[in-house]
């Protein structure tokens, strides 16, 4: 690795890293509250917020690691990285640890590791590489080729089963493909076929997944069963009203009416304690954060960088979109975390690494130009 160029520091995207750290800080604060639950003798606390801090530390290390090298080297690593991920996913299915009926974790001694998270990174890089090799809009053949590649990790994740991650892999790839551009007729066929084929997905769903959809469509049909999570989540968010109940004062979370409060439904805890005002602030941060990544994609000087940034954008965008929609009762319950706010070790590390990659693309956007200058 070459010594750090001064221009790298000059072009560093301080806003994005600032937003990232701010969101992570909000997440830790919220987790501190979500870790607490009242017992007869007072407030007890689980260690999630502390663990999340450790994971954040590891993530920052990962982020720096993803900054240091020139992202273009990743093109070479794309295929090996992807194949390694597939092996890890297959290993999970064989030796994985089963938690709550799902086989998602590999026990690495010190901690549990979720390969499906890294599948997102490797698929993202590989897709960016393949898209960058194309000229013009994508046609049927290329689309099928990409689909054939994508379906392998998706199938392995579905086996676990982890519907949320499988969905986010598909959406990540789909977003990137659309960002790259698809030929007009192909787009039209896809636009018609996707909604038409979606109901067929019902037959591939597990019972608990079907129940979630039924619960979403009619939460009050089974308020203590399928609809419970949805109802309690909305009660938590809604009861925050304008200014919130105050930090550590959320009754829905402290008294454990809200399940999954530190993971997928952490936003509900935030909404309960910080109210509409806090939520507006959080939405603002997320919005600027996402638009910041879009700008990186726009300003990247090569296709690979641009598609990497686009992939990173979609990676965050879909999670934010689906998680918020779920917590707010606009979408069925799908197990996707809210980046930086939800507890999740592997996810946190992945988030920071991808931000590192985005920053990498961002700070090297002038490199290219200069090289070109030199060549001219």
């Amino acid at each position: 690795m070459t010594p750090i160029d001064r221009r790298l520091i000059f072009h560093f995207d301080w806003l994005l890293i600032g937003l990232t750290l701010a969101l992570f800080a909000f997440g830790i604060l919220n987790l501190y509250s979500a870790s607490g639950f009242r017992m007869e003798e007072g407030l007890a606390r689980t260690s999630f917020y502390r663990k999340q801090l450790y994971w954040g530390g590891i993530g920052l290390g990962g982020m720096i690691a993803f900054l240091l090298f020139d992202y273009r080297h990743l093109r070479i690593l794309a295929w090996p990285f992807f194949l390694a991920t597939l092996l890890a996913l297959a290993a999970t299915l064989i030796w994985g640890k089963t938690i709550m009926g799902a086989q998602r974790w590999l026990d690495l001694g010190l901690f549990h590791f979720q390969p499906s998270e890294f599948a997102k990174i490797s698929l993202l890089i590989l897709t960016a590489k393949l898209l960058a090799l194309e000229h013009g809009k994508l046609g049927w053949s290329k689309l099928l080729f990409l689909g054939g590649i994508g379906i392998v990790p998706v199938a392995l994740v579905v086996k676990q089963p982890h519907l949320g991650t499988a969905l986010s892999l598909l959406l990540l790839m789909g977003g990137m493909v659309l960002f790259r551009g698809v030929q007009g007729p192909v787009l039209k066929v896809l636009a018609v076929a996707t909604p038409a084929l979606l109901p067929l997905g019902w037959f591939f769903l597990h019972d608990y997944q079907r129940q979630r959809i039924v619960g979403f469509l009619n939460p009050h049909g089974d308020p203590l069963g399928a609809g419970y999570q949805i109802i309690q989540s909305q009660i938590a968010v809604g009861s925050g009203q304008l200014w919130g109940r105050g930090f550590l004062e959320g009754t829905q979370s402290q008294l454990r009416f809200l399940p999954e409060k530190h993971t997928d439904f952490a936003l509900a805890v935030f909404g309960e304690e910080w109210g509409f005002a806090g939520c507006l602030l959080l939405l603002f941060l997320f919005c600027v954060f996402l638009l910041g990544i879009v700008r990186i994609a726009a300003e990247a000087k090569d296709g690979f960088g641009s598609f990497l940034a686009a992939g990173i954008f979609f990676y965050f965008f879909w999670q934010i979109f689906i998680n918020m929609g779920m917590v707010l009762g606009l979408l069925p319950v799908v197990g996707l975390p809210l980046p930086f706010i939800s507890y999740g070790g592997t996810a946190t590390v992945t988030n920071f690494c991808l931000i590192g990659l985005a920053l990498n693309v961002s700070m090297r956007r002038f490199f290219f130009k200069n090289i070109n200058h030199r060549r001219i």
Binding site: R38, R75, F179, G240, G271, F276, L283
Partner: protein, 597 residues
């Protein structure tokens, strides 16, 4: 760096990026709107739901007021009892929990299910629903030993009503039972498992005794564990009640009744305070508190001796000769007779082809009103009654407090019956016959009175003519309801005849005389049915029980400022003087024990 790769420099079209940015902004606008909808538009609603999630309000029992006698002796108290309750939300499988309970305590599963199903709609979520209101210590031990396996079963400690005197006071105090469906519908303060007064003073004084339940707010977590609680409203204990009853006198009078069926009423003549109100046979009112089984209830209900009937208040009998004072007073008031009027009693009175007999077959000879009352000559009153006629006797009887409830603070009081022409027409579709006058004049025929009515009338005779409401609460001021239709001189004349009845050698109540106490009395022997010829003239003991006469005695006793009325009524007791007399005498002895030393 590989140069080859640098040639693929291309960028996504700017327009696409703008579209993406607008898409992101649009979605976030949707989120903002959704947050606004949930937190601002419906925020209050959700906040309330959140509170409903965590806040439970529990009622805190208010102890029911105690019942005491006039000397503060305890009659009804509350004792802690152990009830078995189920918390539905803590149960995985309610059906198996119920069958477990039925096996453990050897109860009928069907009835247990019925209890559960009927009660469940009235019990809020997470609140214990009472399944069995009272458990023995052995049962509590068995259940406690198994609570780990059955977290839904809870032992609940509740106050239970205990009647210390049982049958002795059962008819006055009555009892409480668990509120039934109808009572809970009518009274929103009542909830499942609450006790409510059903009979007697427990019923009448319900408002005073019940008190006001407290309210406790409990914060619970999702598992229903109680985390903290604060009292929103302190329970207000029900007020104690002091009855006018003198427990010792009550017990004494009760003992004097022995195995007889009947009643004893003791009144303070000048205040209407009820000092004793005995009805025999009685029942144990404690049985009703913990829920009487259908079988036990049927036994009590179908018992031919009717132990649930308060005979002093709810039973009406022909008054017999006890009624003669009313008729005599009526004749004096209406000017039909004067005290010195004489009638020859040959042992009966011929009306048409029918002979109305005097109880004294040999006849009383010539009697005036005093002798007619003292010796209870029927013939004299046949003559008087014939002259008075039903209308005047009816009006006098009504004004003397018969034919309508006395207003005592006990439910289901009987009115008795004072017959009239209208009543006979309505009841039998027949005109009043002259013979009816004769029967009515000696307190027979259709005339029916309760012992309490007789006692109130007797008290009015000696207290200046005031008909007072019989009071069961100590300390309440006398309540005059009406005045006897008698001038003072006529009233005093009647009182004197009662004294003579005790003091005269041929008086029917001579055996109750007590040294130093001014006593007056009237006996009555009321025919139940017209005696069949085969039983006539035989001693009471040889007549089948159900055909025997009812024995009455109404009496007053005074010494100094103290004046009491005692009425004893013995069902099928035979002669009034012989059976009721000793009871009345003993009660007076007890009342004036300090004077008689």
């Amino acid at each position: 760096m590989r140069q080859g790769l640098e040639t693929e420099t291309q960028q996504a079209p700017r327009g696409g990026l703008l579209l993406l940015q607008l898409f992101v902004l649009g979605l976030f606008l949707v989120f903002v709107l959704r947050f606004w909808y949930l937190q601002i538009h419906k925020g209050q609603e959700f906040a309330n739901q959140a509170d409903n999630n965590r806040i439970r309000q529990h009622q805190v029992c208010a102890p029911r007021g105690l019942i005491r006698d006039r000397h503060s002796a305890l009659l009804a108290v509350n004792e802690p009892t152990y009830a078995l309750a189920i918390v539905r939300e803590d149960s995985q499988d309610i059906a198996s929990a119920l069958s477990y309970v039925s096996q453990l305590l050897d109860l009928d599963l069907e009835r247990l299910r019925e209890t559960f199903d009927k009660g469940r709609v009235r019990v809020k979520r997470f609140e214990p629903q009472i399944l069995i209101p009272s458990l023995t210590f052995a049962q509590v031990a068995v259940i406690e030993a198994n609570t780990l396996d059955w977290p839904e079963l809870k032992i609940v400690v509740r106050p239970k009503r205990v009647y210390l005197q049982g049958p002795l006071m059962a008819h006055v105090i009555g009892y409480v039972t668990e509120a039934n469906e109808d009572e809970m519908n009518i009274d929103p303060e009542l909830s499942l498992g609450d006790y409510v007064g059903k009979k007697g003073m427990e019923f009448t004084m319900e408002r005073t005794l019940r008190g006001k339940k407290g309210l406790r707010q409990v914060d619970v977590d999702v598992a229903g564990r109680q985390l903290s609680s604060k009292v929103l409203a302190q329970p207000q204990a029900g007020a104690d009640v002091w009855l006018s009853i003198d427990l010792e006198l009550q017990r004494f009078a009760d003992e004097q009744m022995g195995e007889h069926a009947g009643s004893v009423v003791v009144l303070e003549a000048d205040t209407g305070q009820v000092l004793a109100l005995v009805s025999k046979p009685s029942f144990d009112n404690n049985l009703f508190v913990s829920g009487l089984s259908h079988a036990d209830w049927a036994v009590l209900r179908d018992n031919p001796a009717h132990p649930l009937q308060n005979r002093a208040v709810q039973s009406a009998y022909p008054p017999g000769s006890v009624f003669k004072h009313v008729v005599a007073g009526c004749a004096l008031t209406k000017g039909v007779a004067v005290p010195s009027d004489r009638v020859f009693c040959p042992g009966g009175f011929q009306l048409g082809n029918r002979l109305f007999r005097c109880w004294e077959r040999r006849g009383h000879g010539v009697v005036d009103m005093t002798r007619a009352l003292v010796e209870s000559c029927d013939t004299f009153f046949y003559v008087i009654g014939d002259k008075l006629g039903v209308d005047r006797m009816h009006s006098c009887a009504i004004q003397s407090g018969f034919g309508e409830p006395t207003g005592i603070d006990l439910p289901h009081e009987s009115s008795g019956l004072v017959p009239s022409r209208e009543w006979r027409m309505q009841r039998f579709g027949d005109v009043w016959h002259r013979g009816g006058n004769l029967n009515m004049a000696i307190g027979q025929g259709y005339m029916l009175t309760t012992p309490l009515q007789v006692a109130r009338y007797t008290a009015a005779l000696v207290n200046g003519g005031r008909l007072l409401k019989p009071q069961l609460l100590v300390g309440v001021p006398p309540e005059e309801q009406a005045r006897l239709p008698l001038s003072d001189s006529h009233r005093e004349f009647l009182v004197q005849t009662m004294v003579d009845t005790v003091e005269d050698g041929r008086g029917t109540a001579r055996r109750i005389a007590l040294q130093d106490i001014r006593l007056g009395a009237k006996t009555g022997t009321a025919q139940v049915v017209r005696l069949m010829a085969e039983h006539e003239g035989r001693p009471t003991s040889e007549i089948p029980y159900q055909f025997r006469h009812h024995a009455w005695m109404n009496a007053f006793g005074e010494k100094g400022a103290r004046r009491y009325v005692v009425v004893a009524m013995v069902e099928h007791g035979g002669g009034g003087g012989a059976t009721a007399g000793p009871i009345v005498r003993a009660v007076f002895q007890h009342l004036f024990a300090d004077e008689l030393e």
